[in-house]
């Protein structure tokens, strides 16, 4: 299945160029993106996106980029063909949730280095930390080179299609260095491709990068000059790592300073005791000042979803069960905003209470609910939360601010 959320509104013909490649890619990606829902952004490339052919019915794939956006971009640019994409406004994608997987295939970006750099910025802005980037640019490996040299990315897999062998995604620590050297033009190893032709060893191969967690980027890595990476184990065996899950994405700790909010009481009756945040390490504070409010907000949202998923797991709820679909997934608002009421799983993106019927008793019949959802879709999201009064949260925050005032002033 491709994309349940867009299934009713979009039909995309996919050409599966090579099933075995798709399977190898899928195996690798799935072992590293264990959540049932994968947020995918496909940037560029035609319709021969092999990985989509390998997703299974039980996968919930949210394909964030839609044909409309692509068509609009292409039309606006006036200089790209139908199967090309021009990112003139990277903001287009920024409204989407960060993706677990970005597929970047054969992007042709006219307009010189500035446009290309903007494009890469857009890719970066859309990929969650710890997320995977798949690219197999055929011409000069430009995309692969870019991400190889980007200290925020780590090459974690290369799909190899040697003649007579099933394709596998392999990466050894030594081949990581070899690939860097080859792509830097320092040597030129050859291989026989699956058509029996002799080609550059890595030409046309799939590269899988993982976006590093920001806190893990060491100062020494954060310079463009840092082109080579010290192998972690120089005597690493040349074994494929395709079945080995990558390091977990960052588990964000619940902020320790969060004040438990007491039962909500009217303002005049409730003197709020300030809650002192525990002292943070200097380094942590320094990192925080470099993060923008928006970036921090995005990360916060992700950490909250992880917390919910953890609770679901702790309760023993199976990933893939209906409840998980309803509340354990990212819940993309646009899933409902498509106005297609058949995507009930997309209700997780809007009012869970309303879906269950706690606030919409009058909409008892499923078809009425569906009609209601469709009608609400036109106005995006309805105001569902008349009783979720946030007064106590505000009071607590103001009290905390007052308590911290001297420290804030110093900051």
């Amino acid at each position: 299945m491709l994309d349940r959320n867009n299934e009713g509104t979009k039909k995309k013909e996919l050409t599966i160029r090579d099933d075995s490649v798709a399977t190898a890619e899928y195996k690798f990606l799935r072992s590293n993106i264990p959540s049932p829902t994968i947020n995918v952004v496909q940037l560029a490339g035609g319709t021969d996106v092999s990985i989509f052919g390998a997703f299974k019915p039980e996968d919930s794939v949210r394909w964030i980029e839609g044909d409309k956006e692509r068509a609009a971009l292409v039309a606006a640019s006036g200089k790209a063909k139908e199967n090309q994409i021009v990112i003139e406004s990277p903001i287009v994608y920024r409204q989407a949730p960060p993706a677990d997987l970005v597929i970047l295939r054969g992007a042709h970006i006219p307009g010189g280095d500035d446009s290309i750099n903007k494009f890469y910025e857009s890719v970066d802005a859309n990929l969650a930390e710890g997320g995977l980037l798949v690219t197999n640019h055929y011409k000069h490996q430009r995309d692969a080179k870019h991400f190889l040299q980007n200290p925020n990315y780590e090459l974690v897999g290369v799909l190899v299609k040697d003649q007579g062998k099933p394709p596998t995604i392999t990466l050894t620590k030594s081949s990581n260095e070899e690939i860097k050297t080859e792509l830097a033009g320092q040597n030129n190893p050859q291989r026989t491709n699956n058509k029996g032709q002799t080609v550059d060893k890595y030409s046309g191969q799939t590269f899988v990068f993982q976006k590093k967690i920001k806190a893990e980027v060491k100062p020494s890595e954060a310079t463009p000059e840092a082109k080579t990476e010290e192998p972690k184990e120089t005597s690493a065996p040349a074994e494929p790592i395709h079945a080995t899950p990558l390091p977990e994405k960052r588990e964000q700790k619940e902020p320790e300073h969060t004040a438990p909010v007491a039962e909500h009481k009217p303002a005049e009756k409730a003197p709020i005791a300030p809650v002192k945040a525990p002292e943070k390490k200097k380094e942590e504070k320094r990192m925080e000042t470099f993060k923008s409010t928006t970036e921090t907000s995005r990360e916060w949202m992700k950490s909250k979803l992880k917390s919910v998923q953890k609770v679901l797991g702790d309760l023993g709820l199976a990933a893939g069960s209906s409840l998980w679909e309803l509340i354990g997934t990212a819940g993309i608002v646009t899933a409902v905003a498509t106005g297609n009421p058949i995507f009930l799983a997309g209700l997780g993106a809007t009012a869970i209470g309303a879906f269950i019927g706690w606030q919409t008793a009058k909409l008892a019949k499923p078809d009425e609910q569906a009609a209601w959802i469709a009608s609400k879709a036109a106005t995006t999201i309805p105001p569902f939360f008349p009783f979720a009064n946030i007064a106590s949260g505000i009071m607590q925050f103001l009290a905390n601010l007052k308590y911290r005032q001297p420290a804030n002033a110093a900051h």
């Binding site: 902020p255 949202m301 209906s322 509340i327 706690w358 606030q359 009783f387 979720a388 946030i390 949260g393």
Partner: protein, 124 residues
């Protein structure tokens, strides 16, 4: 009564949040719902929670899900928990982004929130 959604959107404007403010606001509110529901399930006594989890794990239709949950969780429980979750979440968000604010923005935010509280007390 505070208009929660409007207030959060306004907060996002004040703090110069650059993504889509409405989408993010709805994300917070939806997250509060998610937390409320999971907390409701967590709070059930074991003899109720175990069969509920069993049923939920074997339910693959969203429509049945609603019926099952309503059997174990009352609207009142949920409403109470939703208010708690929304407040906790909003406070947590404010505390998180507070560290990224410059003093001027923080002062603006403080004034706005104080005004929202004052207004709600006047009306309520």
């Amino acid at each position: 009564m505070i208009d929660t959604r409007k207030t959060i959107i306004e907060v996002l404007s004040i703090i110069n949040f650059t993504d889509d403010k409405e989408v993010f606001t709805d994300g917070i509110l939806v997250m509060a719902e998610k937390q409320a529901l999971t907390e409701c399930i967590k709070s059930l006594p074991e003899h109720k929670r175990a069969p509920l989890i069993h049923l939920l794990n074997n339910t693959h239709r969203q429509r049945e899900l609603s019926t099952i949950l309503k059997r174990y969780i009352t609207e009142e429980m949920y409403a109470k928990q939703l208010e708690k979750s929304t407040n906790e979440l909003f406070l947590d968000y404010l505390e998180t982004i507070d560290k990224t604010l410059d003093p001027e923005t923080r002062a603006k935010l403080e004034s706005y929130l104080a005004l929202v509280l004052a207004d709600s007390n006047r009306v309520g």
